[in-house]
Amino acid sequence: MHVDDDFHYLGSMPYKFKMDTEFAEKFRESAESRGLQSRTVSYDGFPIDTGSIVALKLLNPDNRIPACIVSSNMYANRAETIVLGKSARDAIAAQGKKAVVVVVSSLSNRMFTEHIDPAEDRIHSAKDDEWNKKILEFFGDGRLEDLSQLSREIHGQIRVQKVVAYKPAWWMSATMGQHNNYTGEVLAYEALHGSGGAVVVLTPSKGSVGDKEFDEDDVEHYHGDRGVLDTGAL
């Protein structure tokens, strides 16, 4: 049973999920082989988060497909997140599985800071709305890697700074192969207490749209923080 910290008055969320523990172990092993610190968790009462519960209950209501939930490392920035995505891809390939990749995240995440009548819900600001629509345009064109490259800009423009970066596009693109070859479908876009919520599907395809000039590093193995201050010193 789960209860949300903010929206507890909306009721309790009972859940029972079927997990693919064999895949989780392989994912952990792959992450460690690429230099990441990783562990699996198997304890009665471990708290599953609101985002995972909502997504799994709505996308996979009868538990037909076993799931694997991976945490978001608080301190991780782009390099670790890209390498984590590649680790997931390694594990999928090693086990010869067909997998559906799910990221649970809002677009703009500024909520109203007071209680509102749901009938009066709207995106918090015109700027957030405009950016959300631009992101959805990219998704609609299947431009996932372009969004990954824009992630830092998106974080600066429309993300409340409660975490260090907007990681979902980084992880999703790295897991799915770092390109724009998708057919994109935006199934829904609505305000969620002021934040921007969208349901988007990306299906691998042949064509590619966009392809910005990619200027971010493409990291294969995580070697820890770079000593830029030491190496760059005169």
């Binding site: 789960h2 910290d5 708290p47 909520m111 800071t113 007071e114 209680h115």
Partner: protein, 301 residues
């Protein structure tokens, strides 16, 4: 009815490691000890609390994070298991807690009247956060006093540490007024460490004290700066530099707990009682107390 009062304020860090190391029957994990400087400090403060007459503990926790106002636990009993999301290997605690709902409602009401967005939490399935459990267990292992748990409204995330300071101060003022009107004697608890940069790996034996040290010297220097100001009774100055401290040390003070407690206590100008300072997975943890009564105020360390 006599006016209610705050009889003690406690800074009570909540690394689950200290509960793990104590091996209480409620926790499933077993330890060979560890973090004695902190635990013995806690034990001493718990003994002082035994000598004080009070009705309830009011705790402000960074691990019940709310973005739409400040929330208060609003049912008389909560019973379940709390598992730490980062350290499930250490903390799987079966709790059975009592809440002073009357006092919580009073605080919610007075805070609401002062313009703060508030909400009572009345879902019986709600899981109590490990910060509340750790701090309260270490201060009162018998669990024989009711609690009021206050969520931390994340103003530092939405606005800035400066706005957090302002709003946490307003909440502290409102809670002090509510306590006065309630006629109750209350212990306040601000549950958090000071500097809060963690190691990103864990030693094979978590209680191996040969591995434990502060994350870096900068964090240590900042922590000691705060300890010195607390010893000197300069709590207004501590709160004034809180935004800078919070940003420099990634501190859990970002949640507003210390600001809330100091505002409620009128920014004490008397020395804090220092019970212990020790690092846990690299974070800086201080146990301190503010005793408004000069006759019982001690120099502990």
């Amino acid at each position: 009815m006599a006016k209610g009062e705050i009889v003690l304020g406690c800074l009570a860090p909540h690394p689950p490691h200290v509960v793990y190391a104590e091996n209480p029957e409620q926790n499933e994990a077993f330890a060979e000890g560890g973090w004695e400087t902190l635990r013995w400090g806690y034990n001493r403060l718990a003994r002082k609390l035994k000598s004080i007459d009070y009705d309830a503990m009011v705790i402000f926790t960074p691990h019940w994070q709310t973005y739409i106002g400040t929330h208060f636990l609003g049912l008389p009993k909560f019973k379940s298991k709390s598992v730490d999301p980062v350290f499930p290997n250490l903390f799987r605690f079966n709790y059975d807690i009592s809440v002073d709902v009357e006092l919580a409602e009073k605080m919610c009401e007075v805070a609401g009247e002062s313009g703060i967005v508030t909400k009572m939490m009345r879902n019986p399935d709600f899981r109590i956060d490990y910060g509340t459990i750790t701090s309260c267990h270490m201060l009162n292992p018998e669990w024989d006093k009711p609690l009021v748990t206050i969520s931390s409204n994340r103003n530092a995330h939405y606005y800035s540490p400066e706005v957090m300071n302002e709003q946490a101060s307003a909440l502290g003022d409102a809670c002090a007024k509510a306590i006065e009107e309630s006629g109750k004697k209350v212990v306040l608890i601000s549950s958090h460490s000071l500097s809060h940069r963690h190691f990103v790996t864990e030693s094979p034996l978590p209680e191996d004290m040969s591995r434990e040290h502060i994350y870096n010297h900068s964090q240590y220097v900042w922590d000691m700066k705060l300890v010195d100001l607390m010893r000197d009774g300069k709590m207004k100055e501590v709160i004034d530099i809180m935004p800078e401290f919070t940003e420099q040390t990634i501190a859990e003070t970002e949640a507003g707990g210390l600001t809330w407690m100091m505002a409620a206590m009128g920014y004490p100008e008397y020395p804090a009682e220092i019970y212990g300072y020790q690092s846990v997975i690299g974070t800086g943890n201080l146990i301190a107390a503010w005793d408004p009564l000069e006759a019982t105020r001690e120099i502990v360390l």
